[in-house]
């Protein structure tokens, strides 16, 4: 796995050149969402949700959702581009790296970006006084798990599609519904049963629930364990799919 670390390092060197632009959006997005939803919408939800003020209730969901958004952003165009435009993966394949190193190194970088964005969001949440539990920092690794559960299969998708025009399709038909129906902004119990199934099947809801447990200081219980296992399953399946797609592209 040391060779995978070299690949991770390569992405960090690249990040050093571009971090300013991304840092701004990493900070500004949570601020805007907090003001818009937490304070704006929150003013109308006077009773709170499940006995918790709306702002406190929504922040964990937003952290998980941000992690997943970052995961998607890093696993669509960057992966497609590394195959089609910049040919980065092919240059790496000529070096003494294995497919697992090339894929693992890139996923490690994605994980790094996910962790940073989740941590920044948590920090903004603290600034807004929306964090009350000492367990709250656990939301970061949980969000990272949810992010990876989405990133791995998305990498496989980006490595499979033959044209750039397939990338926005995933945003529209998978990411948008997932963000809306995964209990980020309102409890999934408010949804019709059919849409509840959408939430249960996709990874984000499981991450949202676990984040909420952490930040509200609730014991996750046995169901929490299932959430974690389900997210891990997405990670493992996503990795295996991505690995076989990468292999097919790089070793021909």
């Amino acid at each position: 796995m040391t060779a995978g670390a070299y690949v991770f390092e390569y992405y960090l060197v690249n990040y050093r050149r571009t971090w300013r632009a991304s840092a701004l959006s990493t900070l500004v997005m949570p601020l805007l969402t907090m003001v818009g939803f937490g304070l704006g919408v929150g003013a109308y939800v006077t009773g709170g949700v499940a006995g918790v003020p709306y702002l406190d209730w929504i922040v964990p969901g937003l952290i998980a959702s941000t992690a997943v958004q970052t995961a998607i952003g890093e696993s669509l165009w960057p992966v497609f581009g590394n195959f089609e435009w910049l040919k980065v993966y092919f240059a790496q394949a000529a070096a003494p790296l294995r497919v697992a190193d090339i894929l693992g190194g890139h996923l490690a970088y994605m994980l790094f970006r996910i962790v940073v964005s989740a941590a920044v969001f948590l920090g903004v949440g603290v600034l807004f006084g929306a964090v009350g539990s000492w367990w709250a920092p656990l939301a970061v690794p949980v969000a990272a798990l949810a992010g990876l559960a989405v990133a791995a299969p998305t990498v496989a998708y980006s490595a499979t599609v033959g044209s750039e025009s397939y990338l926005p399709i995933l945003l529209r038909f998978a990411v948008l519904p997932m963000s809306l129906f995964s209990g980020v902004f309102f409890p999934v119990e408010s949804l019709p049963v059919l849409l509840r199934w959408v939430a249960w099947l996709l990874p984000l809801w499981h991450g949202v629930e676990l984040c909420r447990d952490a930040m509200l200081g609730r014991a996750p219980g046995l169901i929490g364990l299932w959430h974690a296992i389900y997210l891990l399953a997405w990670c493992v399946l996503g990795w295996r799919l991505a690995h076989s797609r990468f292999r097919r592209r790089l070793v021909i």
């Binding site: 060779a3 390569y10 060197v13 040919k87 092919f90 240059a91 790296l97």
Partner: protein, 307 residues
């Protein structure tokens, strides 16, 4: 270990399509070896197999004495690869392109930086070390790609069409650098469809056509075997050159009629020209030249355009 490449009956198939159809190749240490051939001859597929990024479909292949199927990363650690299309990191600086790539070989950062500076000196890019890659010219990018292929001090460098798309100055600079490498004892394996490139650089080469090897030898040997010492190019001021072909019959070893000229393959060009005049044929222009690898190439692979 003397043989860096040993291929016997090497085959590469993609579905029903056979790209490489049972070739035998041996490359010894210190040699500059070329794969010549038109587009689609199987050169790049062969290079990818040698570079251990493409498993052979059949036959024997040993690189540096090792089996690419099993020891891919170990072999690649000792190879340098310069691909046909530059895949440099346009976001990074010239130097960073080398240092980050060196890390993939497990080279310590400090060593990587020192080696990057040496290599930039070698490919004459030292003063551009801190500039980004994007604004560099085609020739500079190519030289940087070659430098990147050298970061691990490889025993063998694979170059896929190293000067395609470069202007004459840039090509000559690349050739000169490659020649220097060869003098340092680095084994060079290259593909090209430029005959002058093959004549400049290769000690030995194979001409590939349709996935097979059509001929093998040194440039000189190939010319001697497949062409004559000299070629006379006759241009007749007429719509068609065909009628003149008959009148030239018996002159030289071989005669080729092209839309705009007739080629006579002869041992003595001046004598053949004299004979043309004796037969009172009046060509608009006469050119006597030495046979080149290009004549061999066209003779072996035909003049039909392959796309």
């Amino acid at each position: 270990m003397d043989k860096l490449i040993h291929a016997h009956g090497l085959i590469k198939r993609f579905g029903d399509f056979t790209a490489v159809d049972g070739i035998d190749v041996e490359v010894r240490r210190g040699e500059a070896f070329g794969f010549l051939g038109p587009n689609g001859a199987g050169k790049s597929s062969t290079m990818r197999m040698i570079g251990c990024v493409s498993p052979p479909t059949g036959g024997v292949l040993k690189i540096l004495g090792l089996d690419p199927r099993r020891d891919g990363p170990k072999i690649r650690a000792r190879l340098g690869v310069c691909p046909q299309l530059d895949n440099l990191d346009i976001e990074l600086t010239v130097r960073e392109n080398l240092t980050t790539y060196a890390r993939f070989f497990g080279i310590p950062r400090k060593v990587a930086r020192r080696r990057a500076d040496e290599l930039l000196e070698f490919v004459q890019l030292a003063e551009r070390a801190d500039s980004k890659v994007e604004p560099l010219s085609g020739g500079m990018k190519r030289r940087l790609t070659i430098a990147r292929a050298l970061v691990n001090e490889p025993e063998m460098v694979l170059l896929d069409e190293p000067t395609t798309g470069l202007d004459p100055q840039a090509r000559h600079l690349v050739w000169e650098r490659l020649f220097r490498l060869k003098q340092q004892g680095v084994t060079l394996v290259l593909t090209t469809h430029y005959m002058d490139e093959a004549e400049q650089l290769c000690d030995r080469l194979v001409v590939m056509d349709g996935g097979r090897i059509a001929a093998e030898g040194s440039p000189r040997e190939l010319i001697e075997r497949y062409s004559t010492r000299e070629v006379v190019e006759l241009r007749f001021a007429a719509e068609s050159q065909e009628p003149y072909a008959e009148k030239l019959a018996g002159l030289g070893e071989r005669l080729e009629v092209l839309p705009d000229r007739v080629l006579l393959y002869v041992d003595d060009g001046d004598e053949a020209t004299a004979e043309v005049q004796r037969r009172s044929l009046m060509p608009a222009s006469v050119l006597v030249r030495r046979s080149s690898l290009e004549d061999v190439f066209l003779h072996l692979t035909g003049r039909t355009l392959v796309d």
